[in-house]
């Protein structure tokens, strides 16, 4: 995995974690570093766009509330986060962890202690939701018309 793809993966997992889970994992991080806010958490709107059927013309789905934050660690590493919702603490923690995960000396420990458990919890939630709705799944068919 390229370093960009790897970073995208953990940023996505951190952004989609529940703030409570993230806070719990953060408490287990040893020696949290000193840092300052390059951009303190701020909330705004982002327009989400989609394509009908994944291939159609672009249209605006709607606006989503997003909170972003950027931090700089004492040693100079910069982390950023964009999270859905207005939880400022969530954005700050995600940005901090993004900065720490880029540090090769800390990456593997954090991956084990924070990223993997969060990813597993998210996968479990997705599975549970999929199982819950599976029984009500409706399949649509188009019958071949007689005149074709």
């Amino acid at each position: 995995m390229s370093s960009t793809a790897a970073r995208q993966r953990w940023m996505s997992i951190l952004a989609q974690a529940s703030p409570v889970e993230l806070e719990g994992r953060w408490r287990e991080v040893s020696a949290p570093p000193r840092h300052r806010l390059l951009r303190r958490p701020e909330t705004g709107l982002v327009m989400v766009r989609g394509r009908a059927g994944g291939t159609g013309a672009r249209f605006n789905v709607g606006e989503v509330t997003v909170t972003r934050c950027a931090v700089e660690l004492e040693g100079g590493g910069v982390g950023v986060a964009y999270v859905r919702g207005r939880d400022q603490r969530h954005a700050e923690l995600a940005a901090l962890l993004d900065a720490l995960l880029q540090d090769p000396a800390r990456h593997d420990d954090l991956e084990q202690a924070v990223v993997i458990p969060l990813a597993e919890a998210q996968a479990a939630r997705r599975r549970a939701a999929a199982e819950r709705v599976a029984p009500s799944r409706v399949e649509f068919f188009t019958m071949v018309r007689g005149d074709e």
Binding site: L38, R39, E42, E72
Partner: protein
Amino acid sequence: MLPGLADPTLDSQRIFRSVLEAVSRPGRIVDVPAEIQAPVPLHPATAALCLTLLDFDTPLWLDDAAARPEVVEWLKFHCSVPLAAEPAAAHFALVADPERMPPLSAFNPGTAEHPERSATLIVQVRAIIGGTGRRLSGPGIADEVRLDVSGVPEPFWAWACDNHARFPRGVDVFMSAGRVMAALLRTTRVGD
């Protein structure tokens, strides 16, 4: 990288208020209210103007002295500002070494139909001194005001006269030094 404004909303509103004060009273020395750690070589007033006026919609041209990697990175991060390769393509220009700056006529003066599409320059100078120097008059100035600017090149004031002569086209200039600024607009007449 250095942080931007401590309180982006209220600080930029306060700075913008000082910009309004400066453009309504050209030649008046106005305090720029900002506690800001600016990347070298920017002064606090210069940095505050940049953070308040620039955004993703305003291509910025930087002179060689201002185009340091730390400055560019800082402006791009905090303002999302695109860079213009040529002075003529810029909505804003940041000049940190006015001794070597291009003439004011190198920047976009707008068109007769749309003079508001002209460029605005932020020129960082060594010092701005009131009560002495050039005589300025025009809209926003009762009688006249005197302004001395240390650090601008010899032909700068001739450029300002030519700039005034092109009205309604022309560029507007903020001169900044330390924590103060003064506006020199296309409407301002420059005397001896």
